[in-house]
Symmetry: C2
Subunit: 241 residues, 2 copies
């Protein structure tokens, strides 16, 4: 077993620390696709959800774990669900739509760039990389698509039922758009995969030359300038095995 396979095996053993211990239905194919690649594994994910939480909205640092979850849905919902959830509010209830989020650990920087590029092209504009102190490279796929509506204060409803009906429609429309973007990201990834295969056919010589240079440098070179540590995406495709 080579070092990369070892890396992947170690990582897979650590998978799924979530309470739920399963992947949301709407993104199962995305998670399976990524985890089938040597370069990637997913560390956490949520397909998108409509939540109603009860907490103290004025506090400077609201942690969800200190709140009561009145309602959660990973699908579209009905205004009746929210109304019955709100009936149990004793503090400040807030309705939120939280879009798809995915954290992908990546073997190399260029692998992370590829996921990031697919995410941006699919409409997940708040995506970004994280390079940790220990050199761990993560791509976080995030959307700008949100909704955060205070609905009660000290358990007292602040709006009428028509408004709750209106806001349910908005949250459901955001859920639909969210699923469209997830589907777009799968198509984008498949397109990148096709491009990659073409590149591999055309660049066998370049690829071999690069591998030689890499072997030469791996023990000797730690820091290049910006352009060498962050090569063009096109440059990376032929290294993407």
């Amino acid at each position: 077993m080579d070092a990369d396979q070892q890396w992947k095996k170690q990582c897979l053993n650590k998978l799924d620390h979530s309470k739920k211990s399963s992947v949301d239905e709407d993104i199962e194919h995305v998670v399976i696709l990524l985890n089938s690649c040597e370069e990637y594994f997913t560390t956490s994910s949520c397909s998108g959800r409509i939540i109603l939480i009860d907490g103290v909205s004025g506090s400077s640092d609201v942690h969800k774990q200190n709140c009561v979850w009145l309602f959660v849905s990973h699908q579209k919902c009905k205004s009746e669900d929210l109304i019955s959830g709100l009936a149990r509010s004793s503090a400040d209830a807030v309705l939120k739509f939280e879009p798809f989020v995915l954290h992908v650990q990546c073997r190399q920087l260029e692998d992370a760039q590829l996921v990031h590029s697919v995410a941006i092209n699919s409409g997940f504009r708040n995506s970004g990389l994280t390079v940790s102190k220990t050199g761990k490279i993560l791509t976080a796929v995030r959307s700008t698509h949100g909704l955060e509506v205070p609905l009660s204060s000290k358990g007292k409803l602040l709006v009428d039922h028509d408004y709750i009906h209106f806001i349910t429609n908005i949250a459901n429309k955001k859920m639909e758009e969210n699923l469209r973007r997830i589907q777009r990201s799968v198509l984008e990834a498949e397109e990148e995969g096709g491009e990659k295969q073409k590149e591999e056919k055309n660049k066998t010589t370049v690829y071999k030359r690069r591998r030689k240079r890499e072997q030469h440098c791996q023990t000797d070179c730690c820091h290049g300038d910006g352009s060498s540590s962050a090569p063009d995406l096109e440059d990376c495709l032929d290294l993407f095995t």
Copy 2:
């Protein structure tokens, strides 16, 4: 003029493409601090704002440029401001609180890691790096702190004035917390600066050795493995001049 200075000069010529052509008052010191460093320059920024925009909330891809801006404030606001803005709504008005956002172009990956680390430690949890196709490295500083409340539909108000008063308070509290986080990021950056100076004193020999290795590798080495292209943050500090 060496290559790095040339890089910085070229970049500075391109600064501030915003309509406003000036930096928001509350973050002027952050932008000045970053631009005084050789390794960084800021490409866009917003200190945080409360906005009221009028558009079509049901459309799948809402672009702010297609909306009417009924009200904008980079400071705390009064419910009267929002009420008079809403009086001019003819479509679907939405109140948003948008927190501090900052894009910093960085010379090297390790410089970007440092900004990212300061941002995360200050509470800007949605921050992330972008490495473009051309090798340009950006750190985006982003917060999870938001608010997005639909208030009118086809020009008709959906809530009462008490609710608008309530929501104004929430938006203002978010603005206060936002400014606290910005201040925390300046303190974090100063702390990192102090650590950096200590590291520089202790690691002169290591630093010189690294520079030698870099010079040796710059023309020869393009791609290391994950650990070499993404060194520990501690490793980077002595390269942070």
